[in-house]
């Protein structure tokens, strides 16, 4: 059985609703987290993201002016100086399946529909910590691999083509970002 040392994780939560921020903070502190930063809109969250370099971002979707979807898109900029790979958990009252697809295409790592539960949040955090997915970069997408499973029965067109061409190592952007603060 695996347990998470929450006191070694740094969280950024973004929600315009103060009551939901309080709920999230309470849950994360109860799990054992000590570093929990809060933003009430996407623009502030983006600033805090660059400044505090959180390990995990938990964001609402629906917020005025700069919403959680735009926040995810801004974080997932492959050329960004900030870490573009941090896990993003979208916590939202949107409860339609098509929203999951939209969030996934914006680079969101995990989707958690409200009402929030301690168990649901813990499982999403455990998943991003224990089972990170590789990132995919195409002309139109940069984010966690959207294919969680391989389907042997898939018969549609294959969108990813071409054999392996090259493998190269790059220094960690996260280490660079962390060393610059």
């Amino acid at each position: 059985m695996y347990r998470i040392d929450f006191n070694k994780l740094r969280f950024l939560i973004c929600d315009d609703n103060p009551h939901m921020r309080r709920i999230l903070r309470t849950l994360l502190h109860s799990f054992g987290a000590r570093e929990v930063y809060e933003a009430e809109d996407g623009a502030t969250a983006l600033e805090m993201y660059t400044h505090y370099v959180p390990d995990i971002v938990i964001t609402d979707w629906s917020m005025p002016i700069f919403d959680g979807l735009e926040l995810a898109q801004m974080i997932r900029q492959p050329e960004s100086n900030a870490n573009p790979y941090a896990p993003i958990i979208m916590l939202t009252a949107h409860s339609e399946k098509r929203r999951v697809t939209v969030a996934r295409d914006a680079g969101v790592t995990e989707f958690l529909a409200k009402p929030i539960s301690a168990k649901g949040l813990y499982q999403r955090i455990l998943n991003v910590v224990a089972n990170p997915r590789p990132f995919i970069k195409t002309k139109t997408y940069f984010g966690p691999d959207r294919r969680r499973n391989t389907s042997s029965t898939y018969i549609g067109p294959e969108r990813r083509v071409g054999g392996e061409m090259e493998v190269m190592q790059q220094p960690s952007l996260l280490d660079k970002a962390r060393s610059s603060i």
Partner: protein, 193 residues
């Protein structure tokens, strides 16, 4: 595949895409504990912390319901514009997401029904005003009367009835808009209460 160096990102380049694998930096926060000596339950601890917070939920819910009523009052005074629609939607959407956590699941269900009207009505000015007003009054009543006995059943019946009327309206006005019809008829992915 090249051997992974500490702190290095591996990029595999294909014709149409790159696959980028980062070393799992967060793995160091995972501890493996034999089940027989694991007496810690962080989820139970968090649920208890939420229960300790629950004394404040009624007041929070009242604030949320009043915000919705205030947004509706602005709509009644000035009509629907982008701003007034957005504020009404966000207030209802917050209740949809929060109310079950705060112990008011029927208020959440009524708020969800209102969100669906705002999202899927082709023209909000053509929505019967009393349909919106009844949703807001129902949410206020559910929040106000919760402490009384026998109101939970009535609140559930009220929110179900509102949802039925709202869905009937939405199916009728969206009969020529298949993408909205599909969204209206799709099952919710929200966790069950």
């Amino acid at each position: 595949m090249a051997k992974e160096k500490p702190g290095a990102i591996e990029v595999k380049t294909f014709a149409t895409h790159h696959v980028i694998t980062q070393p799992n930096r967060l793995r160091k926060v995972l501890r493996r504990i034999p089940p027989d000596i694991d007496h810690d339950d962080p989820v139970a601890r968090a649920e208890q912390a939420l229960a300790d917070l629950s004394g404040e939920f009624k007041q929070w819910m009242t604030i949320e319901a009043d915000r919705l009523s205030a947004a509706h009052a602005v709509v009644l005074r000035h009509g629907f514009s982008h701003e007034t629609r957005e504020e009404l939607f966000r207030a209802a959407h917050d209740i949809k997401g929060d109310a079950a956590t705060f112990g008011f699941p029927s208020a959440g269900a009524a708020a969800e029904s209102l969100c669906r009207i705002i999202e899927h009505a082709p023209d909000l000015d053509q929505v019967p005003p009393e349909l919106i007003t009844h949703h807001i009054n129902a949410i206020q009543a559910i929040v106000r009367e919760r402490t009384k006995l026998d109101t939970a059943v009535m609140a559930g019946a009220l929110s179900r009835q509102l949802r039925g009327i709202a869905d009937e309206f939405l199916l009728k006005v969206n009969r020529d808009r298949p993408e909205h019809l599909e969204a209206i008829l799709a099952p919710s992915i929200a966790p069950a209460e």
